[in-house]
Amino acid sequence: MALIEVKNLSVTIKQKKILEDINFAVEDGEVTVLVGPSGSGKTTLLRTLNLLQQPAAGTIQIGQSTVDGRKLNKKSTRALRAESTMVFQQFNLFKNMTVIENVMAPLLLNKLAKWDEAHAVAEERLREVGLLEFADKYPSSLSGGQQQRVSIARAIAVKPAVVLLDEPTSALDPELVGSVLKTILELAKQHITMVIVTHEMDFARQIGNQIIFLEKGQIVHKGTPDEILSDQGPERVHNFLNSVSAAY
């Protein structure tokens, strides 16, 4: 059984169909990358996986939890959210907490660990992303790249079944992108299951086990990076890649 299984998912926002009949699966330990032109619904799809966006229909199964888009309730919403954590484009670190308090927060507020244990875990995670020396600083004193690495540490602290990353480098200055991508590659090496929305095509090729190409709210192509993103890939994707690289 796949770790994530999405079936016939559709999302409607203000009577407008944003996603239609989305079907895909993600295997445990693999990385899925969502690509496509802006407005294609990538971010909406990612946000639907933890129900920050409510689906209109379809089912989402992650690990042991399954929700039906037509029958959402508080309990099933919380159960599905327990399976994943998210890394946001704008980092969204808790501004009133220090770096280490940010990483400890999901552990403590979900009562997953006592303070000592949470502190130890947080230190370990911060060491992994190379920011332990900033433990007692507040997020506002860190660069964007550092904040994003803290938010990655926070996302993996609770050992979720899957980490969702929404354009994790889009808000960063170019020179800060590399360190964040490197951190995400490290997670992939540890076989942490991830679903990533990104515009970094080289990164997508490098990290993805599965590439999903969306356009106008539908999955147009999916497959391995070689099948989708190589020169022999589908023409539509090829044109998209050319337009992306032309922009630089």
Partner: protein, 222 residues
């Protein structure tokens, strides 16, 4: 120009004796306003429409009337309808009147402070599986508190001056003492100038203290 400097200087210590009364009125009314304002803010965010309506009417009512009218309504009006209010001390009536009025303003301040916390903070909490209540308690509230500080301080400054209305209910505070001094001496200008400067001095000291506290508390955010 016959400005009596000696009288003017001597007025200050006489007025200063009533600073504690003024401060007591202002602080008690502020405590009441913060508690009530916080409750009204909660109602404003309620999912039940009647509660939101109640909050809206409350705010509109207490903002839409002169404070003096409210004080008279409470102190002279209420005992007529409800005999239980007959022995209501003027000090309590003032605290209630000013407290209710300022709570209407404060609830708007608090609401804006909560709304100005970035929505991403709440989403991050949800995405980390934290309950809405805990997100509010540990993430939104501390940030809203900082957001609300400057405007809450302004409210207190307003309140401090409004306590001068208490003289109409027979409380002797700074202004009432000034009125008596002026009545005795007929030196109106000197007296009321001293009264005004006394309030000004209190507010300068308060503002200085508040900006110090703000600097301290907002340090993490800069």
């Amino acid at each position: 120009m016959n400005f009596d400097w000696k009288y003017f200087i001597n007025a200050f210590p006489a007025l200063a004796k009533y600073i504690p009364v003024t401060l007591l009125l202002a602080v008690l009314a502020m405590v009441l306003a913060i508690i009530l304002g916080g409750l009204i803010t909660l109602l404003q965010f309620s999912r039940y429409r009647p509660l939101r309506w109640f909050a809206a009417v409350y705010v509109s009512f207490f903002r839409g009337m002169p404070a003096l009218v409210q004080l008279f309504l409470i102190y002279y009006g209420l005992p007529q309808l409800f005999p239980i209010f007959k022995g209501l001390p003027a000090l309590i009536a003032t605290v209630i009147g000013l407290g209710f009025k300022q709570s209407a303003y404060l609830s708007e301040v608090f609401r804006a402070a909560v709304n100005s916390v970035d929505k991403g903070q709440v989403e991050a909490g949800w995405a980390l599986h934290i309950t809405s209540f805990k997100i509010f308690r540990y993430v939104v509230l501390p940030q809203a508190f900082i957001n609300a500080l400057p405007a809450t301080g302004n409210t207190f400054v307003g309140l401090l001056k409004e306590t001068s209305l208490a003289f109409t209910l027979g409380i002797t505070e700074i202004f009432a003492e000034g009125k008596m001094l002026a009545g005795d001496s007929f030196k109106y200008f000197e007296t009321y100038l001293a009264v005004g400067l006394t309030y000004w001095a209190l507010i300068i000291i308060y503002s200085w203290a508040q900006s110090g506290v703000e600097r301290l508390l907002t340090r993490p955010y800069r």
